[in-house]
Symmetry: C2
Subunit: 251 residues, 2 copies
């Protein structure tokens, strides 16, 4: 799963940029999903007076509204991006206005001051209204989201890498960086996604809960690997180097 | 996780019954969640014109709206109850108007004809408006959801069992029944939840090497189970009772 964010103030062309990116990615046969952060204190998708709102008011901790054509799972709290992404399986996830992430970013803006406020090493493109005036800014390409969407999505395909974990450096620095730093090095072309041992093919033990992969730092990978191998090597039928799978069902 | 459904036509006291059940369960310190089935063709929780609606129209296959106090994951399709429940971890899940389930049921009604239409062996209580007139019907207790909520929730605690799987008989009949039949036998007191080998503490752990199941005596099952669970319970993303899979492959 490849994830990236689009940041920009109101009316800078953010949602239009995202719409066109989604359409173009779909045209290229990717599966695409999105997350929208709503910076409005009173936001509530469920209206007062609905039955689901009554469930929630009575104390229901997780409410789902299921219609004929949609299913809405309503968590009564702010989930972290990592928790939300556990529900996602698509090729690309576009995040609108989401700040608590290390993912690569596109900035949309009216002018250069707005860019300067948001510019950091995770930005790989600039788009939105400013693209009518500039072609590049401080070495970052400025691309029109309407007339030049193909080039913008070419750049997404080139730059946006398979999602990295978000571990603190104390938990894992096997690649020599923390996760955010590695992301920046990948964007610069100075490192590769494969330098991360987690969520990649060179990881030899994986853990899934309800079909979602649970990331483990190498230290934990080793403990789990040793725990499993330690038990099963003694069993009749064990093959060294065979593909091994352990399943634990619902209790 | 214990799940049950409440069925009844409009104005039969369905949502009031559910509200009072949720409040009473919470009072008894259970965690509670709910699912509401909306039988209204045009139901759409997200209003036209919002940014999330624009994402969806552009082709986003899964949209999340995250505010300061809620996170709404909007699937643009009808999910099965089994799929929805994968997001749930609470002690009790109350389902309003959900039909595609084998779970025990409470019927709410105005009169006996409405009961007769819905009555089957999965019904363990009747509530709603009819409870002003009757105390029992065809051997099923009729309980007032306002004045007698404690007795209704006592009955829920007594009758509603840990969720059963929903396998077709061809996949599993180890207990001698299919899953729906076993549920009915449990409600009648003629079988126990433990008769199901799946989703219970006596659930076995399975080991596969190169897709071949390696048989393990219960003693070894327990060692491997403890070894795996001992490591993974501490991980972020671990869900008690979730389906767990560990894969070990060649590097």
């Amino acid at each position: 799963m490849r994830i990236f964010a689009v940041h920009g103030i109101t009316q800078s062309g953010k949602t239009t940029t995202i719409e066109n990116i989604i359409k173009q990615l779909k045209k290229r046969r990717y599966s695409v999903a999105s997350i929208k952060d709503i910076h409005y204190e009173k936001f509530a998708i469920d209206q007062e007076g609905t039955n689901t709102h009554r469930h929630r008011m009575a104390g229901s901790e997780l409410v789902t509204a299921r219609g004929y054509y949609e299913t809405d799972i309503l968590f009564p709290k702010r989930l972290s991006v990592e928790s939300i992404l556990r529900f996602y399986t698509q090729d690309y996830v576009v995040m609108e206005g989401v700040i608590d992430t290390n993912a690569p970013k596109i900035i949309t803006a009216h002018g250069t001051e707005e860019i300067d406020e948001k510019l950091d090493d995770t930005v790989f493109a600039i788009s939105g209204r400013i693209s009518n005036e500039l072609k590049q800014y401080k070495g970052i390409p400025v691309i029109n989201p309407i007339t030049d969407i193909e080039r913008l999505v070419d750049l997404i395909e080139e730059k946006v890498y398979e999602k990295l974990p978000e571990f603190p450096k104390e938990c894992c620095d096997v690649c020599g960086y923390n996760c955010r730093e590695l992301g920046i090095e990948i964007l610069k072309g100075k490192a590769k996604r494969e330098d991360c041992m987690i969520g990649h093919e060179n990881q030899n033990i994986k853990l899934f809960i309800n079909n979602q992969e649970i990331p483990m730092v190498p230290f934990v990978q080793k403990i789990l690997y040793n725990a499993v191998i330690g038990v099963v090597t003694e069993l009749d039928g064990y093959q060294k180097g065979g593909n091994l799978m352990v399943k634990v069902g619902e209790r």
